[in-house]
């Protein structure tokens, strides 16, 4: 038997690639339906999928429930927004630099700044564990949220409008189809990165320590530094997703950083299936579709939505990804009869 020959589908990469390929058809569908709204929804799904796949490194693989994902998401959004604001207003950010609306520069910056914020938050939060970790990440989320509210210069509570057109390598990308493919490329990169990380020695430590910290320590690995790096990577990618959201809607506001948005990310990841790279993509899509369709029927759409999530979590312990396992399991059982 070859190593890894019987790798379960949950750990496989290809379902994520299939989902991304399907998403890539969204602009065609949008044109065919003559409905520009379709590609807008698809862009939103892709952006939130980046945040959810990234969160899975911390939540699914490292087993740490963080309620700070929206804050890092917002930090990334504000990096893009603030730098564009400075350029539009010809006011120096620092040392005579007038800001930028060039995404080839501001997206990596958003990634970096959010990653640094996450490293700082993680360094403190990871000193705790279990429910305390959840509470302290929630507290940091609220701190950063009110930090954004306090940015009076950049719109405060009302949020920050991006008035100048954003570019990528000098090309205008306000075209929603072009922008969609930019976001989809970032999702693909995120999926490939998280998949590699999860299978590397680094990922082995995260996965082992998530389930049995005593064992990890007994063989000689203290999980703390690995968890910190995972938390920072998760935050950095959230920042990238937030930057894309800000760019796609030409707007970012503290509402995008609210703590319930952090809860949404946890729901997306758990709904789709933790510790898979493709579950969170399904989770993000299901979340945004359900939010959209239920909210058009009723104002209090969260109530039936909550019931749906409850049902999924209770019936499918592994999230929506488990449906595939179940289908395959049934098939396998059928084959076994013939053996």
């Amino acid at each position: 038997m070859a190593d890894g020959a019987s790798r379960p589908i949950r750990a496989a990469l290809w379902p994520a690639l299939v989902l991304i390929a399907l998403l890539a058809l969204a602009p065609a569908l949008s044109i065919w339906l003559d409905d520009p709204f379709t590609v807008k929804i698809a862009t939103r799904i892709v952006i939130f999928a980046i945040g959810a796949v990234a969160l899975d490194l911390t939540l699914g693989y490292a087993g740490l429930v963080s309620l700070c994902q929206a804050a890092f998401f917002g930090v990334g959004g504000y990096v893009v927004g603030i730098l564009a604001w400075h350029q539009a207003n010809s006011e120096a950010v620092l040392a005579g630099w007038m800001g930028s609306s060039e995404l080839a520069l501001t997206l990596p910056l958003a990634f970096l700044v959010a990653g640094l914020f996450a490293a700082a938050v993680g360094a403190v939060s990871l000193r705790t564990g279990g429910p305390y970790f959840i509470m302290i990440t929630l507290a940091f989320n609220q701190m950063l949220y009110y930090g954004a509210v306090a940015l009076q210069k950049y719109g405060g509570d009302d949020g920050l409008q991006i008035i100048n057109p954003l570019t990528l390598f000098g090309y205008d990308i306000s075209n929603r189809y072009k922008f969609f493919y930019l976001a989809l490329t970032m999702l693909l990169a995120t999926v490939l990165l998280i998949d590699r990380l999860a299978r590397s020695r680094f990922g082995v430590v995260l996965r082992a320590a998530a389930v049995n910290e005593t064992r990890a320590i007994a063989v000689g690995v203290a999980p703390w530094p690995y968890r910190l790096v995972a938390f920072a990577i998760t935050g950095a990618l959230a920042g990238l997703a937030g930057a894309l959201l800000a760019a796609s809607q030409q707007f970012i506001s503290p509402a995008d950083m609210a703590w319930d948005r952090s809860g949404d990310f946890v729901v997306m990841t758990a709904l789709g299936g933790v510790a898979t790279v493709w579950g969170p993509i399904i989770g993000a899509a299901a979340f945004i579709f359900t939010e959209l369709s239920l909210s058009s029927y009723m104002q209090h759409w969260q109530l039936p939505f909550g019931l749906i999530i409850l049902a999924i979590v209770l019936l499918l312990r592994g999230g929506l990804a488990q449906l595939v396992d179940l289908a395959r399991g049934a098939k396998k059982g059928g084959e076994a009869v013939h053996d």
């Binding site: 038997m1 190593d3 890894g4 020959a5 019987s6 590699r196 990380l197 299978r199 590397s200 020695r201 680094f202 990922g203 082995v204 430590v205 996965r207 082992a208 389930v211 049995n212 005593t214 064992r215 990890a216 320590i217 007994a218 063989v219 000689g220 690995v221 203290a222 530094p225 690995y226 790096v229």
Partner: protein, 247 residues
């Protein structure tokens, strides 16, 4: 030659209970040293202090002449201390080979390696397979831990400890809860490992202990009342009164 493990005057107290009461102990290179004692004598607490999960109140612990009394558990593992747990401490999703490979990985320095697939790194897998074979689990190489029987889980505990390439093996009741056949097989396996590793063995199975150990120490109420060869222990009136008489 320095002792691989040396314990001087170790004390540990939990409230009114003295779990470790002035223990002195040594394990020579290549020796199998067994600790026997009635339930509640403080055997597992002693092992936990040697591994570093529990801090002693007083006393000193040396590994290969290095004072490790204040060294945290994960660093002691790096210095060559491996422990098999009395209650198997495993990762249900990980295969047998994954467990051993993780132990090998932990010995190879830091794990900030982000790109190569760990399950294809021969540098991890080759020593891991060897350890699994040595523990007699070769046939279950790719089974997830959750599918293993009780006896196989005990074997996996041993495989993980061996994969650490330890200077000293701390074996906490490796035969506990095993059936007669499994127990005999484990005894044979430990006999095969004898001389290649320095071992500190805690075990209830008296027949196994007396056949395996070079030296034995009898732990009663946290204190060692006698250390000696199997014959010396068997014939010691104090030991008979305190312990063997009840067995």
């Amino acid at each position: 030659m320095t002792d691989v493990l040396e314990v001087r005057n170790l004390y540990k107290r939990y409230g009114g209970l003295v779990a470790t009461n002035g223990v002195n102990l040594s394990v020579r290179p290549g020796e199998m040293h067994a600790i026997i004692g009635p339930n509640g004598a403080g055997k597992t607490t002693l092992i936990s202090q040697l591994q570093g999960m529990v801090r002693p109140d007083a006393g000193e612990i040396f590994i290969d002449g290095v004072n490790v009394t204040a060294t945290p558990a994960h660093q002691r593992a790096g210095l060559g201390v491996a422990r098999s747990f009395q209650i198997a401490s495993l990762i249900p999703d990980f295969s047998v080979l994954d467990h051993a490979a993780f132990a090998v990985q932990a010995q190879l320095g830091h794990s900030f390696r982000f790109w190569r697939r760990a399950d294809r790194e021969e540098i991890l897998l080759a020593p891991a397979r060897e350890a699994v074979e040595a523990a007699g689990l070769g046939a279950r190489m790719h089974s997830p831990a959750r599918d293993l029987s009780h006896g196989e889980r005990r074997q996996l505990e041993l495989a993980i400890a061996l994969a650490q390439r330890p200077k000293i093996l701390l074996l906490d009741e490796p035969m506990a809860g095993m059936g007669k056949q499994d127990g005999q097989r484990m005894t044979q396996r430990l006999a095969d490992l004898k001389g290649r590793y320095s071992m500190l063995l805690i075990e209830h199975d008296m027949a196994a202990v007396f056949s395996l150990a070079d030296r034995l120490s009898v732990l009663v109420s946290g204190a060692i009342i006698k250390t000696g060869t199997a014959d010396e222990i068997r014939n010691d009136p104090q030991v008979r009164a305190a312990y063997l008489g009840h067995g």
